[in-house]
Symmetry: C2
Subunit: 112 residues, 2 copies
């Protein structure tokens, strides 16, 4: 998959991954690898800044914890984040519908 096809959809992935549970950054990356069957292998330089953006936007909050001497910043959705996730899902459906309409067309552009 080309690198930045994700442009504009990364937030949705992160919010969805945090839906119903709390995870730290590293775990989010691993979770995305798993659910995508390895197709999504996001570098830390992509995920950490994105999480901070989401926190600045008020969509997630973070707590520090220390597990086995290692610091973990654990994120979870806020109510605004839940709302944002809902909005992202709608936007995604609309987006795919529009693009599918252009790409698929049903069989060429067939003006009926």
């Amino acid at each position: 998959m080309k690198p930045d096809a994700l442009r504009g959809h990364l937030d949705a992935l992160l919010l969805a991954t945090l839906d119903g549970r709390q995870l730290h950054g590293y775990a989010i990356i691993e979770a995305l690898q798993q659910v995508s069957g390895g197709a999504l292998d996001l570098p830390t330089g992509t995920v950490y800044p994105a999480l901070r953006r989401l926190e600045r936007a008020g969509h997630v909050v973070s707590d520090w914890s220390t597990v086995g001497g290692r610091k973990r910043r654990t994120y979870r959705l806020t109510q605004a984040g839940q709302k944002a996730l809902h909005a992202e899902r709608s936007a995604w459906r609309e987006f795919t519908t529009v693009i599918d309409g252009v790409l698929g067309g049903g069989g060429k552009w067939a003006q009926t």
Copy 2:
């Protein structure tokens, strides 16, 4: 639809619009408006540079013509463009499958 959700998918739209016919830039914009029911209203500053990129890449070629005193640069797909369109369609299917898998999940993230 947020403006640059298109990021990385614009080429696919343009190639698909030119599939099986030849159009000039302005007509491409109108065609995309029509097939998307108005959801896609691309500014000329987006489309024209994109078409030149595609031409540099060898995916389309252009011919000048004058219709009613107005100059038109008419584009059509090359064989490489056809191939690229095919690749874009596959990439799009893969992309949506992956993102759908994360966003939909089937009902939360349900680790089975």
